[in-house]
Amino acid sequence: MSDGSRVASAVQLLSPEGERVPHGRYEITLRDSELRELYRDMVLVRRLDTEATALQRQGELGLWASSLGQEAAQVGSARCLRPTDFAFPTYRDHGVTWSRGVQPLEILAMFRGVTNGGWDPIERGCAIYTIVIGNQALHAAGYAMGVHLDGSDDAVIAYFGDGATDEGDVNEAFVFGSVFNAPVVFFCQNNQWAISQPRERRNPGLIHERAAGFGFPGVLVDGNDILAVMAVTREALERARSGGGPTLVEAYTYRMAAHTTSDDPTRYRHAEELEIWRLRDPIERLKVFLARQGIADRHYFDQIDHEANELAVFVRDGVRAMVEPSAGSMFDHVYAESHPLLDEQRRRLRDYEASFVEELSP
């Protein structure tokens, strides 16, 4: 069972009970307003996620990959980025895209099946979701090589899961990042599961320890502790900006939901595991901390809940109102320059569909 006992050796600044704990190496000081913002982000991302799951159940989305339980890892790390930095997320990283300013309906469009993308990566400083496991890690390494060539102090962050560390692409990205001393942070969310495969039973090696073999530092952080995630990610981004090359961050967290809405986790994991991890909930622990420190009060929390409900209504209505793509749009942007054979196919489809309209009209 993945009871998360290994989290004991991870960097932690906020205990599951919401107590600030000292750490010899990592610290972080945030303004009260920043702390409240982090709480707000996590609550809204969770509400977006819950609403998307409901919309999938109602047939409004084809699929949904839930970020439930991983809000601190995603929001905490992505909130450390500057606007000119660049993030490469997976299909599950809604807290990352949210933090990059990707709009909620842009996030949901791909899952509804109206597009394969959803937003302009350059405008948002955030690539579209990559579904093929591990591919984006190499894109991040290459983007960072470009940043390096430009002599810029921007930084790049690559997101991937624990399962993805099996893939050649992720390991090749480590090699490229290292060889070219690229300003990239490899941010692995070890959520304990790759569909039905439990991380620790299958592969007892610790992911962040691999970094040493590739020639850069690796850090294990409590991925449900947003303060620790930020402290560790900030330092890694700083190292990247200042010419220190890559860092591998292993954020130790848990996939609280099914792999996707198509999955049935009762076939492979125990409910007790969920109970253990529920006590480590990332939002609850920040909330307790904020309340105890008098940084936020009941009134503030109510206000955020209210905002979350408004977000849910906005998302629900927005998804239902999404414009259906036209058949002809299939042919758009396959090539950047005109392609005569494809243009002809597009014309033929148009004529073919028009022939039905003629048949139907009296």
């Binding site: 579904i131 093929v132 099996d166």
Partner: protein, 328 residues
């Protein structure tokens, strides 16, 4: 005879192959405890053990590369690629090693590997879960390519593929997994005197005016079209083996009908339809009453799911091609 889904028929065929030969081993992502995301290997790990039905790391090049080594050690690996769009990390191992090892070793080493790939669209999936990459593999010398279209064919051909001493890329039409059909589980697929030759095309519907050649997910669509056709009498051929292609069966039909329409979900450009058209034209030039026509997916990436009904050939598009062939 038992009525079962194609998913169950494949499961049953795999089970039979494992019972018959202890050298048959399986490797794939989530195939053990979960039984695969489509449950095709459901129960096999429980019954044959973790040493024979192995949950692999999440690494497709690793899966196929390891299968090469297992084959060299005398095993008959059956590997599962979770979805069509995830076979590409393994493309190098398949094309450079699996396909060529027998020849590179001057015939001393065989590669009795089966690479199972659920393929094709029509299930409303997100990107990379609906592709039809069969032409890449049919194009590669050294690989055989099979594609069943109904439960009985699936039950028989999966066993035949495993028994074959050449590597077989085995495409399972995922949107037909839940279609039911009659399966004769007493049928001995490996009885060489038997009637079921996996490398032969099958005439599933006899007709006199137009031959429609198809495979996998399109077979049901084409049979429905043939039944719906009022103007023309349509003969439907299920190719089943995409490499080698059974051109004899197709040509014999076209010699009678004089017209051929090839249907597949994959894009037209440099696809199987083009190969079949070229070969049939060479063989039947004087019998042809019309050019060979193709009904295919478009030469675009597989679109987002809300557009897939426009992309996928359907009954109307098949009938439209039949009409056009008749009109020549």
């Amino acid at each position: 005879m038992t009525t079962m889904t194609m998913a169950k028929a494949l499961n049953s065929g795999l089970r039979k192959a494992m019972e018959r030969d202890s050298k048959v081993v399986m490797l794939g992502e989530d195939i053990g405890r979960l039984g695969g995301v489509f449950r095709i290997t459901d129960g096999l790990q429980k019954d044959f053990g973790e040493h024979r039905v192995m949950d692999s790391p999440l690494a497709e090049s690793g899966i196929v590369g390891a299968a090469v080594g297992l084959a060299m050690r005398g095993y008959r690996p059956v590997v599962e690629i979770q979805f069509d769009g995830f076979v590409y990390p393994a493309f190098d191992q398949i094309v450079s090693q699996v396909a060529k090892m027998h020849r590179r070793t001057e015939g001393t080493v065989r590669m009795p590997i089966v690479i199972r790939i659920p393929f094709g669209g029509g299930i409303g999936a997100v990107e990379h879960h609906s592709e039809s990459p069969e032409a890449y593999f049919a194009h590669t010398a050294g690989l055989r390519v099979l594609c069943p279209s109904d439960p009985q064919a699936a039950y028989a051909t999966i066993q035949q593929a495993i028994a074959c001493d050449d590597p077989v890329v085995y495409f399972e039409p995922k949107r037909r997994y839940w279609d039911k059909g009659e399966v004769d589980e007493g049928f001995d697929a490996l009885d060489t005197g038997g009637s079921a030759d996996p490398w032969r095309a099958r005439v599933l519907q006899v007709g006199t005016d137009v031959t429609v050649a198809c495979y996998g997910p399109m077979v049901r669509t084409c049979i429905d079209a043939a039944r719906a056709s009022t103007e023309a009498s349509v003969e439907v051929i299920d190719l089943q083996s995409l490499s080698p292609l059974d051109i004899d069966t197709v040509a014999a039909s076209v010699e009678r009908t004089g017209r051929l329409v090839v249907v597949h979900e994959a894009a037209a450009n440099v696809g199987l339809g083009a190969e079949i058209a070229a070969r049939v034209t060479e063989r039947c030039f004087y019998e042809l009453e019309a050019p060979v026509l193709r009904v295919t997916g478009y030469d675009t990436p597989y679109p987002a799911s809300r557009l897939e009904e426009h992309f996928l050939p359907d009954l109307d598009r098949v009938l439209d091609a039949v009409d056009r062939a008749m009109a020549y």
